[in-house]
Symmetry: C2
Subunit: 259 residues, 2 copies
């Protein structure tokens, strides 16, 4: 259930990589090779590439994953959100240009802003529900006139009327296990992408206990910086491999026995 987030920050790369013209590609591919045995998905964050004019390296990283690890899906973390005619272009960007298997998106503009992604029926769409950042509460925790909080309504929409072909999942941060548990109650069968483990302080045991589905799965637990930058020297990939194995072990130990 471990997902490695690919958030490449050249300022944190080991020295021997920093001057390479394709340093971002090399760093990511080394991480992919070192951690593939431990993961259920890779999640490249597009801003870390576009900031550096490295869209071509992002395409190449995803191509590398598909070619060498065809069983591991790629989640493009882009958090787009726009009206239908524009969202069509974002969907083409994610699924045709980058060939992602799933993409993250914001629910703020409603169902028709998500439909162009859902038109790709073999791909997934992961909708922001409850995020782990401090400002996540500003809107998401607002109480509605019905008594629900906003993120609960998003979970109910994604588990119900929005999920016309079973392609939806939700982003729920690891830092609020009670709220993760609440989302799991509302959406018993949806996969939940849970960032916030590791550098952001989320706890593995609490996350698994709160978020696992009745069938014993349904979690994609994402860690980025704690794995990518576990080492700072030429052996960074080995350090990442050890950190990923350790996190995967913690997740396995936290899982209840499969019934």
């Amino acid at each position: 259930m471990l997902c490695v987030g690919l958030d490449p920050d050249p300022k944190r790369f080991p020295l021997h990589l920093r001057d390479q013209p394709d340093a971002i590609y090399q760093f990511c591919v080394a991480i992919v090779r070192a951690t593939a045995a431990e993961v259920c998905a890779f999640k490249p964050q597009i801003a870390y590439f576009s900031d550096w004019r490295a869209e071509d390296q992002l395409e190449a990283v995803i191509q590398y994953i598909h070619q060498h690890h065809p069983g591991i899906p790629v989640i493009l973390d882009a958090k787009r959100g726009d009206i239908g005619s524009t969202a069509e272009h974002y969907a083409r960007e994610a699924f045709e240009r980058y060939k992602a298997d799933a993409v993250t998106a914001s629910p703020y503009m409603g169902l028709d802003s998500l439909e162009p992604y859902l038109a790709y029926q073999d791909r997934g769409l992961i909708v922001l529900c409850r995020t782990s950042n401090p400002g996540g509460s500003d809107l998401q925790s607002l109480q509605l006139a019905t008594g629900e909080r906003l993120f609960e309504r998003v979970a109910a929409l994604a588990a119900g009327p929005w999920n016309t072909h079973g392609q939806l999942a939700l982003v729920v941060g690891a830092t609020f296990p009670n709220e993760l548990q609440r989302v799991r109650e509302i959406a018993p069968d949806l996969p939940l992408l849970v960032p916030g483990i590791g550098a952001q302080g989320g706890d593995v045991n609490a996350t698994v206990a709160a978020g696992i589905s009745a069938a014993g799965h349904g979690l994609i637990i994402s860690s980025s910086r704690a794995i990518l930058y576990a080492g700072a020297g030429e052996d960074f990939a080995e350090a990442a491999s050890r950190a990923a194995a350790q996190t995967a072990l913690e997740i396995r130990q936290a899982r209840p026995p499969i019934r």
Copy 2:
């Protein structure tokens, strides 16, 4: 108060442009030249460029606007939204790579997801409030326990605690004039970016009446397709110029006399 949205769709370009390798750049620059006399801003929509691997042409279009029309600000319509450390990369992408004067963003992840943009104190941030698409109501019109609707809370946050250095504006669609008026009441001084005029059916008179500030300004009324594709032949730029002049005239006629 007219803003021309640059949503270049190569399938709708005049035939003589379609086979050019930099057709997107050429089309946009022709539109910029033809309409600059009528506009207060240009608004390129990034998905229309990234879908075609045309980030370099987007950079070149914005550079062209800054060089030839230095008084006209560029709004990068990107609708990003992510936690602080990732939003820093999106902010650098918008303001340093593309050199936009302002960028659009989603409020769903709260204030700390907006702060990295606000750190650029000479740039603007335009937050989604009430959008004109059919699904815009799914979340934005939800009534809160306080009696407010969600978009009203967003307007109040942007007009108050979030607007620490006066850099915020709001996106409010043209298709709901009553709600535009309500946002204007809550945020009397904020600039409002109003898409939905033209192809999306918004009415100029109703928009100006509902959205203009007490001081007689505060609106950035955006039109894209109705201007970009006013003509389909070699004279597309002249047709765009006439359409922009006509829309600008309608806006001027709708404005109350300046006191």
